[in-house]
Symmetry: C2
Subunit: 142 residues, 2 copies
């Protein structure tokens, strides 16, 4: 059995743990508004999830996107489930800004300009507000 | 009013037209198994869709992923809604192969090896089968 980085470790700073999923802050340099929704079970493809879990994951993704839009006013939110390097279901949810180093390219593409440390810091200072909303996405304990 | 490339044109070779969405073949060199689900209405973010339309789009995405898995046996399917360049809701659905030019990187990243024209051709020859399945995703006319 091959070790899986998302079975063995969180994959970022944990913001919320729920029974079937967790949200982590990706801690990628240059992209402070970068979170991941990681499925707790080791599943390769989105379509391998049962329908009820797909619906649950979509509701969480929408809540994550809305939290970014509400608190950070990004120019665009990027959603992506790639998993080529780590084939354990996870979604990248990234608030993108017209001034960021790669915009309008993907965060995986080549940079188009230097990072802007002042603006990046201003985004970082609002992550606590975003994360309050993310925590509210977890199902309430009975 | 700014012209929108996905309001003004299909965005690829049209495979299916449905009332609320269309599927196009992206025709990106080096990635024959690359389709897009384009929402017909001009909506920027996924969370701006009404819940019923989000659910419909997820069902279509899942059907697209399953069609790729069934007929092409990709090593991974990539799903992404970015829209930084064209902020009109569309999903990239891409069958990825361990031998493709960018694997395990994103298709937007730098290539890791030359394209393999023989294997690419073999994928292209099976797209008609994939597209039969994609056509079946459209709602039946009453």
């Amino acid at each position: 059995m091959t070790a899986c980085p998302l079975c063995d470790a969180a994959g970022g700073r944990v913001v919320v743990q729920a029974p079937r999923w967790r949200i982590v802050h990706a801690q990628e340099a240059g992209f402070p508004a970068f979170y991941r929704l990681v499925w707790q079970a080791h599943v390769r493809e989105f379509s391998h999830l049962p329908a009820a879990e797909r619906a649950e994951s979509m509701d969480v993704l929408v809540g994550m996107e809305q939290a970014l839009l509400r608190h950070l006013q990004p120019d665009k939110v990027n959603l992506a489930s790639l998993g080529n390097a780590v084939p354990h279901l996870h979604w990248h949810v990234i608030g993108r800004f017209a001034w960021d180093s790669h915009f309008p390219g993907a965060v995986w593409a080549q940079p188009q300009r230097p990072a802007d440390p002042v603006r990046l810091q201003a985004v970082e200072e609002r992550l606590a507000e975003v994360e309050q909303d993310l925590m509210s996405l977890a199902p309430r304990s009975p």
